[in-house]
């Protein structure tokens, strides 16, 4: 009799494994429904249910065993080809999966099987099982053999159950060693031979076509038992397991598969997430300590060895941080696994046909973010199927294929992850949206009349909005897209919707890779330091003393930013901080405005001082402070002091910048801003040596910097400059673009101009490396619609356009950087 702890362990392993298997079942069933003849899938499903049943018997879980048993009976008939999969059967089997899941959850939380009543499911399964067989040429024969099959089943169960026992005990004993693999495999091979022999012995009456089938699955069962473990370890959610199983199936395919799994097993170990969290915390602290050391070492200029050591520490810490961060990354596919089932369920309940396609399921995201986007994504998918895709009849009438298509795509872009969910449904009719919003009193009739299409579409994100006349059990309760939006924004993401009537809707969610360590702007207000996450930062504006930038309407301060009114929020007032002595902001003094994005709205935060940007480690606040919505957390600064991290959304709400939906002015501005962003581009306008004007897409610009000419150094013929603890190569844009002759001339000219003391550099960040593009002068940031003309196209220039009435070239940053590398190699 095993001790209590061993049972616990056994139970835990059983739970973990079963959950993983069940997740896979959901997918398999849906796949099977579309293609009922896929025997490998059917066999894999059968094995899963069978494993659960077998282990249940071993652990004394009678109820679960009973439920699993009826399912197994039905499945075994399906597997033997006596029945074909149809919607009714799939539904019943999915209900079975739900029941099993419910019992498992009960076991997990309370330790017993609970007192749920699953007799309805069982009856349904039995009923389906007793249904006349499909294409039964030998009805009487099957009737006879059915009693035989049950006894047979029981026998098979016995052998398999003991086999499962072996699997469990063996894997328990040596899960993480390589020996386990070599130990287990031969043992199982033997066992499998034994079992398959037995089953064939016991099957003399069965038709010949059934015989190979019945032995084959048992065989694959045993070969699979080994690979099952490694996949648990790598994915934790078992989706690669599914692929492995699908790949296998026949005896011939099983051979190379075993090998692949062997390497998987030896390369992967199972690690508790808590341990990773702890490591992450420790690395976070190391980052803080590193920051402190760096601060100290840069102050001690006469200690070169300390400086060197500090630089090394810096590099190692950065790498370690990246490494640990990677361990927490999970492919988004783990989350997506459950979507086919959801899509199927929703589609069935509203009598639609929808197919789901996925791309980029290997895109990785931090575990915490995966958790955070789970609900929003689920909701979006339900919505797409329920509201987006039309009924089959409507689709056919519109000349579309009967089956709707839901397409999910995930990919990395600029340090963020983009998730797109598109459907080919009817699209969102802005007129309908406006009418509904007006009916629900969310906007007034005049507002509706004035609204642009894009603006109207974005109304779906308003709290309380719903288009459905009837509340279905799927969606339409009016709680929905606004929750999606808030949840995504809470983790620093954005949601955007694009739609075309009759063609479909695409929802684009942009989220950061990780939450634990983020770049932030450090500011001071009222003598306290605060950190502002860089994601919500748009730009910094400094008003010099005496400039009359700030205007007031009825006491509300505003600033004219490129013609738009920007509401201002004084951080020290909002936080009820003491004014900074006599230096507190009074009219006429200089001011620093941090332009932030809170939801759709921009606002300016007036602070006393802007310090620097820094990578900060986000630490949660204690529950005593959870109610203070203006803070997202706290962090420890380089000097060891604690600084609070501002929650930009919370701050905007507190300051009433993000106001009620009736605030027309806000809405107009937001619409303008969003309209601009669609067909216009933000461009950085620079002047090069020799007076050429050049624009660089602002999206490619990491930062703008100024370096003293004396700070330029040379490494291997390349100008470099020390920048944020890295050596950043500098590329003189004019030089790269120039032909040979003018290049020489320019060098001479540059020598003649030593009087320019500061050089201006546009920092471009590529694959974690910074590259400085040296320009003569940064002129402005403009928003323009770029209409390229091909005149003047050459290496490094994408084309010519007219900006501010002057001919300007659009720089091809990538080409310039590549070319510079080539030039360097040639020199």
């Amino acid at each position: 009799m095993p001790g209590l702890n061993e049972i616990d362990e056994l139970m835990r392993d059983f739970l973990v494994e079963s959950y993983e298997n069940l997740d896979r079942l959901d997918r398999d069933f849906v796949a099977l429904e579309t293609n009922p003849s896929e025997f490998e899938k059917l066999a894999s499903i059968f094995r899963t249910i069978h494993t659960i049943k077998g282990t249940c018997g071993c652990l004394g879980l009678g109820k679960l065993e009973a439920v699993a048993h009826v399912g197994e009976n039905l499945l075994s008939r399906l597997r033997e080809g006596q029945m074909l999969m149809d919607t009714e059967i799939t539904t019943a089997l999915l209900r079975l999966v739900d029941a099993v899941r419910e019992i498992l959850r009960h076991i997990e939380t309370t330790g017993n099987e609970g007192n749920g009543d699953y007799s309805a499911v069982c009856r349904e399964l039995v009923r389906l099982n007793d249904r006349p067989t499909a294409g039964s040429t030998k009805l009487t024969a099957t009737d006879d053999s059915s009693s035989l099959t049950t006894t047979l089943d029981a026998k098979q169960d016995d052998t398999s159950a003991s086999l499962e026992e072996m699997v469990l005990s063996a894997t328990n004993a040596e899960i993480e060693t390589n020996e386990a693999n070599t130990l287990i495999t031969p043992e199982f091979k033997e066992a499998s031979v034994l079992v398959s022999q037995k089953s064939t012995d016991d099957h003399p009456i069965e038709s010949t076509s059934a015989a190979p089938l019945s032995s084959a699955p048992v065989h694959t069962n045993t070969t699979r038992a080994v690979p099952q473990e490694p996949t648990d370890e790598t994915a934790g959610d078992g989706h690669p397991a599914a692929e492995a199983v699908h790949a296998g199936g026949t005896g011939a395919a099983a051979q190379p598969k075993d090998k692949a799994d062997e390497s998987l097993l030896s390369n992967a170990i199972r690690v508790d997430v808590k341990l990773l969290d702890k490591l992450m915390n420790l690395v976070g602290e190391l980052v803080l300590a590193r920051n402190q050391v760096l601060q100290h070492s840069s102050a001690q200029k006469n200690e070169p060895s300390l400086l060197r050591t500090a630089q090394r520490l810096n590099l190692i810490t950065t790498e370690l941080q990246e490494g640990v961060m990677k361990t927490r990354m999970q492919p988004i596919g783990n989350l997506w696994n459950k979507f086919p089932r959801i899509v199927r369920d929703v589609a069935t309940s509203c009598h639609k046909k929808v197919r789901i396609e996925m791309e980029g399921r290997e895109t990785e995201l931090d575990k915490t973010i995966i958790e955070a986007i789970k609900d929003p994504l689920t909701h979006v998918i339900r919505n797409s199927v329920d509201h987006g895709v039309e009924s089959p009849a409507q689709r056919l009438a519109a000349g579309k294929p009967e089956e709707g298509r839901l397409f999910m795509r995930a990919y990395h872009e600029g340090g963020q992850v983009i998730i797109e969910i598109s459907d080919d449904g009817k699209g969102i009719d802005s007129e309908v949206i406006k009418r509904k919003a007006a009916e629900r009193g969310l906007i007034s009739a005049e507002q509706a009349a004035k609204m642009s299409e894009r603006e109207a579409v974005n109304l779906i994100f308003l709290p309380g909005f719903s288009t459905t006349e009837q509340i279905t059990n799927v969606s339409g309760r009016g709680v929905g897209m606004d929750v999606v939006k808030t949840n995504v924004e809470r983790i620093g993401g954005t949601v955007d919707v694009k739609t075309r009537i009759g063609e479909g809707t695409t929802l684009r969610i942009k989220i950061p890779l990780t939450l634990a360590i983020i770049p932030a702007l450090i500011i001071t207000s009222g003598g306290e330091q605060f950190a502002i996450p860089q994601v919500s930062l748009l730009e910094l504006v400094r008003l010099d003393e005496g400039s009359s930038g700030i205007e007031k309407i009825n006491g509300t301060p505003l600033y004219r930013l490129r013609g738009n009114l920007l509401p201002l929020v004084y951080l020290n007032q909002e936080m009820k901080l003491k004014l900074d002595g006599p230096n507190g902001r009074t009219a006429g003094k200089s001011a620093n405005i941090v332009v932030l994005r809170g939801g759709e709205r921009q606002f300016g935060l007036v602070v006393d001082q802007i310090n620097d940007t820094e990578e900060i480690v986000v630490k949660p606040l204690g529950k005593q402070l959870k109610g203070v919505s203006v803070f997202a957390g706290a962090t420890i600064m380089g000097d060891g002091r604690v600084a609070l991290i501002l929650d930009v959304m919370g701050l905007a709400q507190r300051a009433n910048v993000v106001s009620q939906s009736s605030d027309e002015a806000n809405r107009d501005a937001a619409a303008k801003a969003s309209a601009v962003s669609t067909d216009r581009q933000m461009l950085l306008l620079c002047k090069l040596q020799g007076g050429q004007r050049m624009v660089i897409p602002l999206s490619l610009v990491a930062r703008l910097e100024e370096f003293p000419r004396s700070g330029l150094e040379s490494a291997g013929g390349q100008s470099v400059v020390q920048y944020r603890g890295q050596i950043m190569p500098l590329i003189d844009v004019a030089e790269v673009l120039a032909d040979k002759r003018s290049r020489a001339r320019m060098r001479l000219a540059a020598k003649d101009q030593p009087d320019i003391e500061m050089i201006q550099v546009v920092v471009y960040s590529h694959e974690g490396r910074n590259i400085g593009l040296q320009v003569e002068q940064v002129l402005d940031i403009v928003e323009e619609r770029v209409q390229l003309q091909s005149t003047g196209v050459r290496l490094g220039v994408l084309g010519t356009t007219i900006i501010k009435d002057k001919v300007t070239e659009l720089l091809d940053v990538k080409a310039v950087v590549q070319n510079a590398a080539l030039l360097l190699a040639a020199a």
Binding site: A289, K619, L621, K623, Q624, K626, G627, V642, L644, G650
Partner: protein, 146 residues
């Protein structure tokens, strides 16, 4: 059965408090604090405890006692709570006392106000009373509505 318990004692104003030793993570001198604007008045601030950010609850404020005089710095009694460590700001740290369970008594009925809520009982020591602080309740500060 053990019939003695160990208490870490400290002073808040003229009150003599004790927290059972196993609840105390550590006791440290004054640490610089970061104020949290808009938080409840009882929140003393945030301290950096070797890389951990710990919320400090000012026991004087919590017990509705007058504030410390300027220049008088509080000490930290860091206690473990359900979700995280919390520092209790006290005036002065006393000894670790071994007390007899026999001398325990429930708080007197006549005690009222916040004290009634936060004092779990009283040990009758020689010459003075040791008030047992209910730490879970003491750190349960509801943030002021933001």
């Amino acid at each position: 059965m053990n019939d003695t318990k160990q208490y870490c004692s400290f002073f808040v104003d003229d009150l003599f408090f004790g927290v059972e030793v196993r609840e105390v993570q550590e006791v440290i001198r004054y640490l610089e604090m970061t104020q949290v604007p808009l938080a409840a008045a009882e929140i003393g601030g945030l301290i950096n405890l070797r890389g951990q950010i710990v919320t400090a609850v000012d026991l004087r404020r919590r017990l509705k006692l007058p504030d410390r005089k300027p220049g008088q710095f509080p000490m930290n009694v860091v206690v473990r709570t359900d979700d995280a460590a919390v520092s209790l700001l006290v005036d002065e740290i006393g000894d670790v006392l071994q007390v007899d369970k026999e001398s325990f008594e429930s708080p007197p009925e006549t005690l009222n106000g916040v004290a009634r809520e936060l004092i779990a009982g009283v040990y009758k020591l020689k010459g003075r009373l040791l008030l047992v602080l209910d730490t879970q309740k003491a750190v349960n500060v509801i943030a002021a509505a933001a």
